[in-house]
Point group: C2
Chain length 277, copies 2
């Protein structure tokens, strides 16, 4: 049974992304492998119950995989979370979501990392790629300067949005709009005759995602900017809100519908416990 | 001489917006008159020196008018600032900026109001219209709910951005992107064969601007949500950063170039004193 799977088997299964398109799967595997190479030695193995690592709805029309690795006490990383969700749409198509988020501990104020690809048709993709700020950018102007202005992070957004296939995307959630940085890439991409979605991911989204993740791993996940005590409690409280709200907005609203109440409660219960720690 | 002008004459001169297009002028006059009708009795007259209320560069190629009225001690309004700036462009065209901003006191946490129209050619306009948050929307989720979600403020942005002439605008300043709310209207509008810029202002921008200002005057400027002491000092410090940074980003970077160092120093000196109070 699934509960007998070893950690390695579950990880291998997670890396399959069986429902994602080839370029989307290749990109996710490359990003996750890069995280494992650079940060793996400072992360615990995934300890999620196997029926939270892989699950589906009773009808077999929706599947999801979640892989979560917490940082060792010596690491600045709180945890890294990869997820793949697939479900059949009433229209006959399918919705494919793959995401990788990485949260840091309050021992550093460096931004979190987030990438999410939401593909609801072969011709259309929503991409969110951001280094999520840990502090209010108005009350802390130095933070804006250090992580967003001096780093010229906006150039990635600019180069992507020059392409005619790429348009700004407004999340229906005002919280999501508020939580991302002013350099966040939040776009919808329409594949067309000029460039297909697969080519967009391979040639444009992929290189930018890898560069932003590389920057994050080098500069943020291994930052030696250590925070003071009052700063740590500010960060811990703000991060708690980010983690719990993100999970509600991202999963809490759709999981019961996709996977049924029982599966949804089981999975969200485990994640809420980890997120609220 | 200009310094002999009476307050009424200076106000009348301010309301002329002699360089703005007719619909842009009409809209500004309507917004300012609405503010005077509803909030006028609780505002001091404009006490800016006359050579700060109206000034130009030595060449006569750039002109500006500024009108600033502070709130009485009993009012929640800190000050209301109207501005009109015009300058000839090397290309032969002209740049016209009109703006109205209204800042509240730390005795309330309700959002500030901002509208800015930047017209750099007869066929192109940048519009910023927002109720600027006073608190970090992540640390204070109730604030996001009260002022932005429950009010359905986003519907104005949605209805405007449905028009094919309207595209999202990314300010080159990351601070400006960070300071506005997630429902901010920050767009560039291209006049074309279907609808001219003048018609866009009259038929689409105007009605929305009047509705948002009306909402702000009713719900925010006269809010009876009174703040506690620690909240007031948080708001006062965050507002101080908003006011001083906005003036530097908005005016500090362009004023010396437009008006020469001497005029620029005089005007910005007076405004910095008021803003930093």
């Amino acid at each position: 049974s699934a509960s007998m799977d070893s950690g390695d088997e579950l990880r291998a299964k997670f890396m399959e992304f069986p429902y994602a398109s080839a370029p989307q799967r290749d990109l996710m595997v490359e990003l996750l492998s890069s995280v494992e190479t650079h940060l793996g030695p400072s992360l615990h193995p995934c300890t999620l119950p196997s029926d939270v690592q892989h699950f589906g709805n009773p009808d077999g029309t929706a599947h999801a995989s979640i892989h979560l690795r917490s940082g060792l006490p010596s690491s600045q990383v709180e945890f890294v979370l990869g997820a793949g969700i697939n479900c059949k749409l009433p229209s006959g198509g399918a919705l494919n979501i793959t995401s990788l988020s990485a949260y840091l501990k309050p021992s550093t104020d460096a931004p979190h990392f987030l990438i999410e690809l939401i593909q609801s048709s072969p011709k259309s993709l929503v991409l969110i790629l951001d280094l999520t700020p840990r502090k209010d950018l108005i009350s802390y102007p130095d933070y804006l300067k250090t992580y967003y202005e001096d780093t010229q992070l906006d150039r990635h957004r600019q180069s992507l949005q020059k392409l005619p296939e790429v348009r700004p995307y407004y999340s229906p959630s005002l919280y999501i709009r508020a939580v991302v940085s002013p350099t966040a890439i939040v776009v919808s991409i329409d594949g067309g005759e000029r460039i297909s979605i697969d080519e967009m991911i391979r040639d444009h989204v992929g290189p930018i995602a890898k560069e932003v993740l590389g920057f994050w791993m080098e500069t943020c996940a291994c930052s030696d900017r250590r925070t003071g005590e009052s700063e740590r409690s500010y960060l811990a409280e703000r991060d708690r809100i980010i983690k719990t709200t993100t999970i509600e907005v991202d999963l809490g609203s759709s999981f019961p519908r996709l996977f049924g109440q029982q599966v949804s409660d089981r999975v969200l219960g485990v994640l809420r416990e980890i997120y609220g720690e």
